[in-house]
Symmetry: C2
């Protein structure tokens, strides 16, 4: 039996920074609403967000009135049509994603591995879109999932493209939690590996985050060398083996370079556009 490792991310405990204003609380509820185990019950949403039950109830009412939540039978709630529309618009409108999509498909076809694009959110990488291979082996990576920067290929790729001071700040000074025996736990060691990553142009995650999973990633740079995200491929170690890394690495680097070039050339996100509108 192939173990269905679907650990998209940690159970995602409620935000360490407690939501203070009504907007933050509403965002927390929205975040809980889109979790995969719909439909959601009020008590579960309250527990997940860490908010009092009446507060969640009132927020859900507001969200439902606006079409962002939909009440189901038995007092349950799930994502509403406006939320789905918002999501679809957001993913369709992002220039990074629009440009990355065809590149990911091409990369997936040429490598045979799952290709994905991730962006940085604080100290974690969020997987925003991906191109799934029709493989029989399930790779533990889901859209919307999160992985810490310090133990992922996309994380290392983005860290390598950031100013060293910023990277050091994101890594912190304390030893990092071990996810597998191979996890690099010393922030200094991660930083020390960055020059090599920069020189090669791609980063390799050798079972840092999960057993039997290897990944390769390269940074995507927008206008002004802003780090827009990272392109990567993920595979099980016996499929994505050590010898193939030397072949696949440059392909990933080239894919990320293609997205970067489109980002700069095509639609400059920088405020240099002079023309009207």
């Amino acid at each position: 039996m192939p173990k269905p490792v679907n650990t998209s991310a940690a159970p995602r405990e409620e935000s360490p920074a407690a939501a203070t204003g009504p907007v933050d609380k509403a965002l927390a509820v929205l975040d809980a609403l889109v979790q995969p185990d719909a439909p959601h019950r009020l008590a579960d949403l309250a527990a997940r967000t860490g908010l009092p039950k009446p507060t969640v109830h009132r927020l859900l009412h507001t969200l439902a009135e606006a079409g962002y939540a939909v009440p189901g039978p038995g007092g349950t709630y799930q994502a509403g049509p406006r939320l789905l529309g918002l999501a679809a618009t957001a993913l369709a409108a992002s220039s990074e994603l629009r440009l990355a999509r065809p590149v990911l498909d091409d990369l997936r076809l040429r490598t045979g591995h799952l290709a994905h694009f991730s962006v940085r959110d604080g100290t974690v990488a969020v997987h925003v879109t991906q191109s799934d291979p029709s493989s029989t082996y399930r790779v533990p990576l889901a859209a919307g999932g999160e992985v810490p920067l310090y133990c992922s290929a996309v994380g290392w790729a983005m860290l390598s493209a950031l100013p060293p001071a910023t990277a050091a700040e994101l890594l912190g000074a304390d030893p990092l939690p071990a996810r597998t025996p191979r996890t690099v736990r010393d922030p200094g060691a991660v930083l020390a590996a960055m020059p090599a990553v920069r020189e090669r142009g791609y980063a390799v995650d050798d079972e840092y985050a999960e057993q039997d999973v290897r990944a390769i990633a390269a940074p995507v740079l927008g206008p002004g060398d802003r780090v827009a995200g990272a392109v990567g491929i993920v595979g099980l170690t016996f499929t994505l083996d050590e010898e193939s890394v030397a072949v696949l690495g440059p392909m990933v680097r080239a894919a990320a370079g293609a997205v970067s070039a489109s980002l700069r050339g095509g639609a400059g996100a920088l405020g240099i556009v002079r023309g009207r509108r």
Copy 2:
């Protein structure tokens, strides 16, 4: 003095129901943030949402602190990583979408036309996901886009599956705006067409919404005959011509039926699940 009409061409007055609470306003800002013309300037967001400038500024600050917005150079803003993550999670978690995706791909391959899935949001249909053909002809349908129910195939499909009283309420009593010379403007006429749609199992939009565009759609029903959305194909009239409708219609109907069946059988969205997490 030459009147400097440099404001956006379409005045496009905003929310019919003015945003009252802070949550509604924040949602309006989010909605404006994901529009395709990023990066957005504060004044544009204020104009689009109809909110005062300082209010938008404060909300953007809150959203930025939470990672849902990102300030760019020159005081611009765009969708932040949390928002992209939320969007990716929402689309990946929705059972309708997860089930519809492969069906849409299959439908697209077999018909050669753009296949899409839409849900109802009040009196409009929102296109949530789609499977694009590699056609040279651009069909005017974008993810996140909206079309009124009364003049679209997906709209008619969903109306046909709703209780007639509900459908009548959604259509209203007044004559509907004409989008093309062929638009059916009489709510009564639309209602009168529903029985035929129900019998055939699919609806046809014959240039009701846009010149030279034809569409076919069928309703998707969830547990308890709840209208979950509609599956449809869209094409230019000279590609998706009248003769092919009789052939393509049943294919669309079958595709929608497949999604409906999966929705009921696979993951019951009904609150019958008893098991503890």
